[in-house]
């Protein structure tokens, strides 16, 4: 016998579910979210999807326009660059460095930044305070400039760039987390939980964390777009991911020389970068809007 639900059961959405509900109700935010998720999926699967090796040079197909142009070739969907390398493969694999790497960097820096920030928000002892204030002074330097300084000290190269950008993202996370946690810490419900005899870990994870989650998620989206911009900008300047490795920023820089001959080699990575950052920013913005709606209602 099939299970029949005879009684009307009221749903009891949690506040976080309510935020999600109002986020979902807006077409633009969902579209941006789907674009972003699709991007991430494609980037993760790129080693399987890429039709050619990124460094294989097809000498018979140098600077071939994309396939939808009359002189194009279906074999090379997005055409080839001035050395005869397949643009589609380079864009796909490039995504690993331009989108995959920033996600990884944001994950690492948020982990470090949020833990320090949470400790500094709860524990007002001099140890954590001085640590978080030290990082606060670093906030006065723009994150890109800081990454530049770190690279100037360490030298260019894949590891150094990843390290520099990760490090430059940390202060923002500490600042946001500390302020959010500290603000919640003095509210009555936390005091009430403290008087319940809750352990500090329980207070942090079960009591405070759900209340600061939206703020932290918003900071994650901001940091992700900053990280993508930073790594693209560094590579564009020739300080980031080095030449043979495909990266959207370095592809843009390379295309500067032949922009009149093969405009697609500039437009394609540019558009990809634009769509990615746009999607992330719209998601972050919609999240802020959804939160505001919930507070107002």
């Amino acid at each position: 016998m099939p299970h029949v639900n005879l009684y009307h059961h009221d749903e009891t959405p949690s506040p976080l579910q309510l935020v999600w509900k109002s986020f979902r109700a807006r077409f633009l935010s969902m579209a941006a979210l789907y674009v972003l998720l699709a991007m991430i999926l494609v980037v993760l699967l790129s080693p399987l999807l890429a039709p050619f090796n990124t460094s294989t040079q097809f000498s018979d197909a140098i600077a071939l326009p994309p396939s939808w142009v009359e002189s194009g070739n279906m074999q090379f969907l997005f055409g080839t660059d001035d050395l005869g390398r397949d643009m589609l493969s380079r864009l796909l694999i490039g995504g690993l460095y331009s989108l995959g790497l920033p996600i990884l960097m944001v994950a690492v820096s948020s982990l470090i930044g949020m833990s320090i920030g949470a400790l500094a928000g709860i524990d007002r002892t001099i140890k954590y305070q001085s640590l978080s204030r030290l990082f606060d002074t670093l906030l006065s330097i723009p994150s890109f400039l800081m990454a530049l300084i770190i690279i100037a000290i360490l030298g260019t190269g894949f590891n150094n760039v990843a390290f520099a950008i990760t490090l430059s993202l940390i202060p923002q996370f500490i600042f946001v987390t500390r302020n959010a946690v500290h603000e919640e810490w003095h509210k009555d419900y936390v005091t009430a939980s403290r008087l319940n005899g809750c352990s500090k870990a329980y207070l942090l994870y079960r009591v405070i964390l759900p209340n600061v989650t939206p703020t932290l998620v918003m900071q994650l989206t901001v940091s992700l777009s900053v990280a993508i911009m930073d790594i693209a900008a560094l590579s564009f300047l020739g300080l980031g991911i080095q030449a043979p490795t495909p990266e959207w920023g370095s592809m843009l820089a390379r295309s500067l020389d032949e922009v009149y001959l093969s405009p697609w080699s500039m437009v394609l990575p540019g558009v990809t970068l634009f769509v990615t950052i746009m999607a992330i920013n719209i998601v972050g913005d919609s999240l802020r809007r959804a939160l505001k709606e919930r507070v107002n209602s």
Binding site: T12, L16, G197
Partner: protein, 258 residues
């Protein structure tokens, strides 16, 4: 014989944030002593800023006193010893809106004190929460509810449920009835009186309302600028009020009626 609650020379001073180390500390409560017996209702009154909330917070364990001792059943109560504290003294906050966690269900929040102070299993905890919810006149279905789905009177009931779930001896209510409309306030007062009879709870009520005090309080403690100026049985205080300040606090509402 030891008293249920004995306050000895309890005082509180604090330094303002802008102050230098050598500026004198401002005094919130000058050292005061009083006792409370089991099943008694003590009303703490005083004008705004007289330190009555601070006193409630210190007894409830939110703040620590700068001097003096709190003795409970002949045992010294140490600040930040939360397990000793919350099995005996519980606090109801002024603002029920903010004292409930918006992101946890009512059931989870009521389970919290049980989780940390008892050895009950999950099923027993649920049973206890359901019983307590029914005791304050709510339904077991409210377990699933989030605070934003409840009215302010219901929230106040949840706060009371949270205070009594560990079956404490003393409940400190810091102006817990101010934000409620008169009918709900009457309901909540009756609820508190019922619970007092069932469980033998002593209350420390911080309140502005002379009507409530006359109606339910056994003893009155009146603070004036951090000093305890009156501490006696309610009828004695009501009959014998020479001090204009006390008279003003206790009889002001009568003048308005004339």
């Amino acid at each position: 014989m030891s008293h249920l609650l004995e306050i000895r020379n309890l005082g509180k001073t604090f330094r303002s944030r802008k102050g230098w180390p050598w500026t004198p500390k401002s005094v919130a409560i000058e050292p005061l002593s009083f006792t409370l017996e089991a099943g008694e209702i003590l009303a703490v009154m005083g004008e705004t800023g007289s330190g009555k909330s601070t006193l409630a917070k210190i007894i409830g364990g939110v703040d620590t006193a700068t001097s003096g001792e709190i003795w409970l059943n002949g045992q010294r109560l140490h600040s930040h010893n939360y397990s000793q504290l919350c099995n005996n003294v519980r606090m109801i906050f002024q603002d029920s809106e903010n004292s409930l966690n918006a992101h946890l269900t009512i059931g989870k929040q009521l389970e919290e004190p049980l989780l940390f102070n008892t050895e009950l299993t999950a099923a027993e905890r649920q049973e206890r929460v359901n019983l307590t919810l029914q005791r304050v006149g709510m339904l077991r279905e409210h377990w699933e509810f989030y605070p934003h789905m409840l009215s302010s009177g219901q929230k106040q009931r949840v706060c009371i449920a949270r205070a009594i779930i560990l079956e404490p001896q003393i409940v400190v209510a810091d102006e817990a009835l101010v934000a409620l409309d008169p009918s709900v306030r009457a309901q909540i007062i009756n609820l508190m009186l019922d619970l007092q009879q069932d469980m033998g709870i002593s209350y420390i009520l911080v309140t502005h309302s002379p009507q409530i005090v006359k109606h339910i309080a056994d003893k009155i403690l009146i603070l004036y600028r951090g000093k305890m100026i009156v501490f006696d049985k309610t009828d004695i205080v009501l009959e014998d009020t020479q001090q204009p300040y006390v008279q003003q606090l206790l009889h002001e509402h009568l003048k308005q009626n004339i």
